[in-house]
């Protein structure tokens, strides 16, 4: 024992029946009061590492374990999960799946009731825990009436009530919109600062976390490849292997402020010492300001894109819709798509985005004369006919699978439409090659990894060559790099088929990097229709829709305000910002 709260020494672990270990020779020490962020690609073993910290591995999920681990003074191999429950609190990704009770108070009391604490103490602690997460007076509320962010705060309150020494969180904001995410990170930072609670957390939304954590651990293929201070972690580019063994840049989990500093230093040809790595927007602005000077003539702002003409691909005309007439979910929505590439449909959880998409697909019966695909009223089409014009990729790919074999899955849509066998064979073969799943043609769809299942569900839609593809929340429950890979696939498929993509999302980095146009829905009404850059510049729209501008936009905005004559303009592309800073820079001799 050396006083560490977590003391893992040379630990390896393989799941029962799996030949390859998922954790390899892990050594990690975490001391009281630390806030540790664990980063790594999907399948690198980070969630498995978290499950060790309360004994779920090896006691609930069996397997082969070697090496030694002591958590909160208890030897891992000899301590049951229920004993760890006193010292270790666990919060998982999906609040829906981890909440057991139906009333807020019952959920917060649940853990202490299991530990047979006296009633008076339980009631006091649940009040305290709810107050800490900002949910005073919510005790009698039904879980079903809460937003995603509130549910996750209930999950945190449920473990805080037991006053754990160690709080372990596995991507707690993966299912939340930016407003919900900000709520959770604020609570965690306060918990660590004011109560000294040790926090170990896996999370890929690093922009809002990088300046709050005290330490970063990076993993790759079951091993720890970096362990140190955040500035050191983000001082240089790194690469790792993804679940499907393809090398991907670890920049996917870098804060944009640090990414910007690396790119700017590279462009300037100057080294970036770790002490100078910015972790948030003000630090990045200060960093860039040190490299800026006077500018010659500022470049003229780019002209707005000309309005498209001709027959629209999709027309939504004064659409009002609701399950209950007195409370419409969508109110007087109008917009037109002309095949602009990738269009983002943004808004808070529950704002009406998915309802609109379901109307487009005929899943909810669309009203007549309100939704048009080309010259055809969607209300007059059968769901099967709509599906050949508009593809829809659901959040959970498993829901869409209808056969037992990958090849059959892609062929299904063509077969039920009576396409000739030789054409089916040709198109399915081409599609499987495009999504890189040809080698799995005889496997069950359910046996693929999540990233592969996503690609398969996209392939099942695109094989019908729809003119419009709707992607429902491509980042919900997904790692950032999986979403990036999916969007890369979209770009390739757009080139091949010319499909327009309507992406329902609240992931601002995805919008900034990929979207050509953004639509914002708030409380059922269309609040904004324009470019992503214009959306991020419109603060009232962002506030109303619970969105946050990506750090790169905020950095550009702050630089433009501080150096009005520099020619630096806020934008959504990191490379463009670096270029404009370079142009404004007076290069020292």
């Amino acid at each position: 024992m050396n006083g560490a709260l977590i003391d893992i020494d040379g630990l390896s672990y393989a799941y029962e029946g799996e030949p390859q270990p998922v954790l390899r020779d892990i050594s990690l020490q975490v001391h009281e009061g630390e806030f540790v962020l664990i980063l790594g690609p999907s399948g690198c073993g980070k969630s498995t590492l978290l499950q060790l910290l309360n004994g779920t591995i090896p006691h609930t999920l069996k397997g082969t374990l070697s090496g030694a681990a002591t958590i909160c003074g208890h030897p891992l191999a000899e301590t049951k999960v229920s004993t760890f429950a006193i010292d270790v609190g666990m919060v998982f990704q999906d609040p829906e799946a981890q909440i057991i009770n139906t009333r807020v108070r019952d959920e917060v009391c649940f853990g202490m009731e299991n530990l047979c604490r006296p009633t008076a103490e339980i009631l006091d602690r649940q009040l305290e825990a709810l107050a800490f997460v900002g949910l005073e007076g919510f005790g009698d509320r039904s879980i079903f009436d809460l937003s995603g962010g509130q549910k996750q705060r209930v999950s945190i309150a449920a473990v805080l009530a037991g006053r754990p020494r160690l709080l372990v969180l596995d991507e707690p904001t993966a299912n939340l919109d930016p407003a919900g995410m900000a709520e959770i990170f604020a609570v965690l930072a306060r918990l660590n600062r004011e109560h000294g609670t040790t926090i170990v957390m896996v999370e890929h939304r690093v922009d809002e976390l990088a300046d709050r954590v005290s330490r970063v651990v990076m993993m790759d293929r079951g091993a720890i490849v970096f362990d140190g201070a955040p500035r050191e972690a983000f001082a240089r580019r790194r690469a790792a292997a993804s679940e499907e063994a393809t090398a991907i840049p670890l920049g996917a989990w870098f804060p944009q402020a640090a990414e910007f500093a690396i790119a700017l230093s590279d462009a300037c040809g100057t080294p970036l010492p770790p002490a100078e790595v910015p972790l948030n927007v003000p630090e990045a602005v200060a960093f860039a300001s040190r490299r800026m000077g006077e500018l010659e003539a500022p470049p003229a702002p780019s002209a707005p894109a000309a309005a498209k003409t001709g027959e629209p691909l999709l027309r939504v005309d004064r659409l009002t819709y609701g399950y209950d007439r007195r409370q419409p979910v969508l109110r007087d929505i109008s917009f037109t798509l002309h095949g602009e590439g990738i269009v983002a449909l943004c808004g808070r959880n529950g704002s009406g985005k998915t309802t609109l998409a379901k109307l487009l697909m005929g899943i909810n019966p669309p009203p007549r004369g309100k939704l048009w695909i080309g010259a055809q009223d969607i209300a007059g089409l059968e769901p099967r006919d709509i599906a050949s014009r508009i593809g829809y990729v659901f959040q959970n790919p498993d829901h869409q699978f209808v056969t037992d074999r990958v090849w059959d899955e892609v062929a299904y849509g063509l077969t039920v439409r009576g396409i000739a066998a030789e054409i089916v064979t040709e198109r399915v073969g081409e599609m499987l090659r495009l999504v890189d799943l040809e080698r799995y043609r005889d496997r069950s769809p359910f046996s693929l990894s999540l990233g592969e299942r996503r690609r398969l569900s996209v392939a099942t839609m695109l094989v019908l060559e729809p003119r419009l593809l709707v992607l429902d929340e491509p980042t919900i429950g997904q790692d950032y790099e999986r979403a990036q890979m999916l969007m890369g696939l979209m770009a390739r498929l757009r080139e091949r088929f010319g499909t327009t993509i309507l992406m329902i999302t609240h992931d601002v980095r995805l919008v900034a990097e990929w979207a050509d146009r953004a639509l914002v829905i708030s409380r059922g009404a269309l609040l904004f229709d324009g470019t992503p850059a214009a959306m991020f510049a419109d603060k009232p729209v962002l506030a109303e829709a619970g969105l946050l501008a990506p750090p790169i936009f905020d950095i550009g905005e702050s630089l433009a305000a501080a150096w009005p004559d520099s020619g630096v303009r806020p934008g959504v592309m990191l490379t463009a910002l670096v270029r404009s800073v370079m142009q404004s820079r007076q290069v020292p001799a």
Partner: protein, 270 residues
């Protein structure tokens, strides 16, 4: 967006909501005993009216709630009543339909049988709508000495029904988008169910694994017993309801045995 089903708990503050779950269970049991013991239509009419009044006044269910929850059973009961009325034998002709004799005994017995089913369904609706599954599980532990692990298994089974309903709706929508046509009839339903089974099973197993981890990580199963905050207790009102039901059941069956109950046909031959 999901809409809740009629047979599902809804929070409220009616007299029935405030009763403890075991009293409500006792009330349903008592009503069932009374209904099963009554083979005469006028008695069944009184029991059905009393349960309907309880649903409307003491449980504060709306007429719409009652219709949504029981219309299917109501239709089945009416069909049952008509078929039995037309087919059961009798002695005294009450009236004729298109020349076909309708006997007072058969019409009366058929009405009693149909109302019996409807009364029990309605009483069950009152119970399900007013009894929180969690409170029922706790009551089973604290008042009936059922082991808490079993009671929680029962509670979680009830708790996830709406979630599974929602997931089935999503799977159905997702598969319709793939071009799977909605099927009618029993054979169609069976083939649809087969198609839903795999995604539903995969999703349910993942959810179950997560629930187990969430419960264990919060000490569930650490000790042979656990404490309960807000454990429901039988109050004076609950004792009164139980006593009244017990008296009615005992009184009714005593009256039956002693021969005090006389048949008066609803559909009189006079």
């Amino acid at each position: 967006m999901s809409r809740s089903t009629a047979f599902q708990f809804r929070a409220g503050n009616s007299f029935f909501h405030r009763l403890d779950p075991l009293t409500k269970l006792g009330w349903v049991f008592g009503i069932s005993l009374l209904a099963f013991g009554a083979y005469i239509a006028w008695v069944q009419i009184i029991i059905a009216a009393a349960v309907m009044l309880t649903a409307l006044v003491l449980a504060r269910l709306s007429v719409v709630d009652i219709v949504r929850g029981t219309w299917l059973f109501g239709l089945a009961c009416v069909s049952f009543w008509i078929i039995q009325t037309l087919t059961l034998p009798g002695k005294h002709v009450a009236f004729r339909i298109l020349g076909h004799p309708i006997y007072a005994e058969s019409a009366d017995y058929a009405l009693a049988s149909a109302l019996r089913i409807y009364t029990i369904v309605l009483a069950s609706l009152v119970f399900v709508r007013t009894a929180d599954p969690r409170e029922l599980a706790i009551a089973l532990v604290t008042q009936m000495r059922v082991p808490y692990r079993i009671a929680y298994a029962f509670f979680i089974a009830l708790r996830i029904v709406p979630t599974i309903e929602d997931e089935i709706k999503t799977i159905r929508a997702a598969q319709r988008v793939r071009g799977v046509a909605a099927k009618r009839g029993i054979a169609g339903r069976i083939s649809e169910t087969k198609r839903y089974a795999m995604p539903l099973l995969v999703g349910s197993l993942r959810r179950a694994e997560m629930m187990v981890m969430s419960m264990e990580s919060r000490g569930f199963g650490a000790y042979a017993t656990r404490s309960f905050v807000d454990a429901p207790r039988m109050r004076a009102s609950g004792v009164a309801v139980c006593c009244i039901m017990a008296a009615l059941v005992v009184g009714w069956y005593t009256a039956l045995v002693m021969g005090y109950v006389h048949t008066v046909y609803v559909f009189s031959t006079n």
